[in-house]
């Protein structure tokens, strides 16, 4: 899956930038620095927009393309922020065997975005997560703090409607 690049305006703060620069400084000189730095950056900003990747590239003295290549290689790195309504679909073993992949697929179709992406209006984001400990309700997804269990694909449209 090729990650969609978010068009949502970047809202980083100077404090976040200072924090990221500290992470870069702590890892500078380590030939494998880009991974921990990108993980740190994602912890700080929630995702890795171009503005953040440029700071990483300049800070580590490597081409922006190389940073982007790493960010698009690993599925846990997101190029989109979390939406106002952050949907998490559990892909843990129990949910998976109960058809969670189909739920994820249906969500993607209806929102026009893939996992780790956010709709252009900033309203919905989808992420795939590992077991959230609600295996008895499999397959499970959460929208912010709300938990939806024993899902079938036909339920998805109605649930999304409540948030639109």
């Amino acid at each position: 899956m090729i990650k969609k690049i978010s068009k949502i305006p970047f809202k980083g703060t100077p404090e976040q930038e200072a924090e990221l620069k500290k992470v870069i400084e702590d890892n500078l000189g380590d030939p494998g620095a880009v991974m921990p730095v990108l993980q740190g950056a994602q912890d700080i900003y929630g995702y890795l927009p171009i503005e953040v990747q440029k700071i990483v590239a300049d800070g580590l003295g490597m081409p922006l393309e190389e940073v982007y290549g790493v960010a698009t290689f690993y599925s846990q790195f997101a190029l989109s922020p979390k939406g106002e309504y952050a949907i998490s679909v559990c892909l843990g073993t129990a949910c998976y065997v109960k058809g969670a992949a189909k739920i994820l697929e249906t969500l993607s179709e209806q929102l026009g975005i893939g996992a780790e992406e956010c709709t252009d209006d900033g309203k919905f984001s989808i992420s795939a997560c590992r077991c959230i400990g609600a295996c008895g309700l499999a397959p499970v997804m959460t929208i912010n703090d709300e938990v939806y269990g024993r899902l079938e694909t036909k339920d998805v449209e109605g649930i999304l409607k409540q948030y639109k």
């Binding site: 899956m1 090729i2 690049i5 990747q53 440029k54 490597m62 922006l64 393309e65 982007y68 290689f73």
Partner: protein
């Protein structure tokens, strides 16, 4: 160095310790097929074309990166090896667009060659889903991921050129070569050097083809079509017609151009001699009048674009001289047009360059010396494009006679012809600057310390009682090393020559493609350069200021070097560019 004893296909061999299997096999007269391997640049063992059996090894090993050791037994041609290589090719073909008939690389494609050599018959063995990609076209090159085999040679070449604007994005089946955030190449800090093209094994990277525009001009009876050829072109064009690498085909090239219908066949060497006059005097002026030093050459448009993107603060160090290409173009549309009584608007000025950045250079601002609507050079084609034009009109290049360039803009000196190799511009400039500063015709014309294919060369020459410190770099990565020194004020050079491509223009992005199996085992930069140094040695005139047509041009038209008129026609300006798109 110590040797180790190994067996290749049962044949005992003694090879230098530390060799890779592929190097040992080469000594045994065996070519191991490769796709991703490019010596010293891309040694990643990724494509699995070069697999061989090693006795005792768990599985097949990659010969390009696997070192030999004492007692090793290698099998390069077992059914297991051949079958594995074939499967690899078939898997590559499963996502390849296979439009060989219309591919610019057809006949020179390493993938095509391997498929033929290994007898891959069923190209559709792994047919299935196939990604499709938009073509990424710029003014200088075209990227077509539908033909890409993901060998990453272009990525390594781009990183070697410091720019690193292309790389592998995404993962697995979605892996593709692209720019950061999937931007088009025209929107990132690509320096247009074309090293990605000459390192690509297939047709995924090629120059933007401008040959149709040239044919159109040649067919237009209203137009006066004038061509110029850069020094390095003559050192490599013959390779496209099966001639030995390092053959100087200047005479056949002039003959071919004339037979294709160009009205005048001029030589960029004339422009190079003119560049030396302007640049040499600019240098002397900077030294004598406290100008910005070190002064840096500006002939290589890839290098100029590189500086503008990555070191914009150093722009004042660049010589304001145009490159030989556009100097020649400006003089063609002014001096020559006036002399011939031709309306310069009727002239189509074509250049044949070893370069794709020249396509970018001709449309820069301030490259229209003869008038606002008179671009110095209208169309720039690469050495490869010239070869394809020669093929298209059916000229038997090898049996053409040797002919001369047309005068006056075809007259040259030995100083001009070495412009095509790293260090050549510096040497040519020193020959003239030394004569001018000493006020005499010096006997010595050899500045051997700046010759050779080393990435960075330094020398100090005593000229008129002064120690002139010079540095020469080729390859943008080496240029960056020097620029970091200049930025930090740690460089006490007076004059720096930079060429964007490793080895200089002889290895330019517009030159004939050398297949990896030759490139990995040949000192091709030096071999091509030798054609130019031989021409210099054989020349009667070896200093730019001795070129009689250059002397006449200044007498009749320009006055003296760096005159007002010379500035108007032959100098240009630069713009700071961004490292990242907005």
């Amino acid at each position: 160095m110590e040797n180790v004893n190994i067996k290749i296909n049962g044949m005992p061999m003694s090879v230098p310790a530390g060799s890779t299997i592929i190097e040992a096999c080469k000594l045994a007269g065996i070519d191991i097929p490769t796709l991703c391997y490019m010596k010293d640049m891309n040694e990643i063992g990724a494509c699995r074309m070069c697999v061989v059996e090693v006795k005792g090894a768990r599985s097949l090993v990659a010969a390009c990166v696997y070192p030999v050791n004492e007692g090793m037994e290698v099998i390069t041609n077992s059914p297991k090896v051949i079958e594995s290589r074939k499967t690899t090719l078939e898997l590559i073909l499963s996502t390849h667009d296979r439009k060989c008939l219309s591919c610019s690389r057809s006949g020179k494609c390493e993938l095509q060659t391997l498929c033929r050599e290994l007898g891959v018959e069923d190209a559709a063995r792994f047919d299935g889903a196939r990604p499709t990609y938009d073509i990424d076209a710029t003014q200088w090159l075209v990227r077509d991921n539908n033909k890409c085999v993901l060998c990453r040679r272009c990525v390594a070449a781009c990183n070697d050129q410091y720019a690193g604007v292309i790389g592998a994005n995404a993962r697995g089946f979605d892996t593709h070569i692209g720019c950061a955030f999937e931007q088009p190449l025209s929107n990132v800090a690509c320096i247009a050097c074309g090293q990605c093209i000459v390192n690509c094994p297939v047709g995924a990277l090629r120059e933007k083809d401008d040959t149709d525009r040239v044919f159109e001009a040649l067919a237009d009876p209203e137009k006066v079509v004038v061509v110029q050829t850069a020094p390095a072109v003559r050192a490599a064009l013959g390779e496209e017609f099966g001639m030995e690498m390092g053959t100087n085909v200047e005479g056949k090239m002039a003959a071919a151009l004339r037979r294709m219908g160009f009205d005048k066949v001029f030589d960029t060497d004339f422009g190079a001699d003119l560049t030396i006059m302007e640049e040499g005097y600019e240098f002397i002026d900077r030294v004598q009048n406290g100008g910005v030093l070190p002064m840096i050459t500006s002939c290589s448009p890839g290098w100029v674009k590189f500086l503008e993107h990555y070191y914009p603060d150093l722009i004042p160090h660049l010589s304001t001289c145009k490159s030989p290409q556009t100097m020649q173009g400006a003089i063609t549309k002014s001096y020559w047009a006036e002399k011939q009584g031709i309306d310069p608007h009727k002239i189509v000025s074509v250049s044949v360059m070893p370069c794709v950045a020249k396509k970018f250079e001709i449309t820069r601002d301030d490259e229209n010396g003869a008038g606002a609507d008179l671009q110095d050079v209208d169309i720039s084609i690469s050495t490869r494009e010239l070869a394809s034009m020669i093929e298209r009109v059916g000229l038997d290049f090898v049996s053409l006679p040797d002919e001369d360039f047309d005068n006056p803009l075809g007259e040259d000196t030995g100083a001009a012809v070495i412009f095509g190799a790293t260090g050549g511009v510096m040497e040519a400039a020193l020959r003239t600057a030394a004569d001018v500063l000493e006020g005499k015709d010096l006997e010595n014309v050899d500045y051997k310390e700046v010759r050779g294919t080393a990435g960075i060369k330094e020398a100090t020459y005593k000229v008129a009682g002064m120690d002139v410190k010079v540095a020469v770099a080729s390859g943008a990565k080496n240029a960056a090393i020097l620029m970091d020194k200049v930025s930090k004020g740690e460089a006490d050079y007076h004059f720096i020559e930079i060429m964007a491509c490793p080895g200089g223009c002889v290895n330019g992005g517009g030159q004939p493609i050398i297949p990896a199996k030759v490139k990995n085992f040949t000192d091709y930069k030096a071999v091509r350069a030798s054609a130019l140094y031989k021409a210099d040695e054989a020349a009667t005139l070896r200093k730019s200021h001795k070129n009689p047509e250059i002397i006449k041009l200044y007498d009749e038209y320009l006055g003296k070097p760096n005159s007002h008129k010379a500035h108007e026609l032959l100098h240009t300006s630069y713009v700071p560019r961004k490292k990242y798109m907005d």
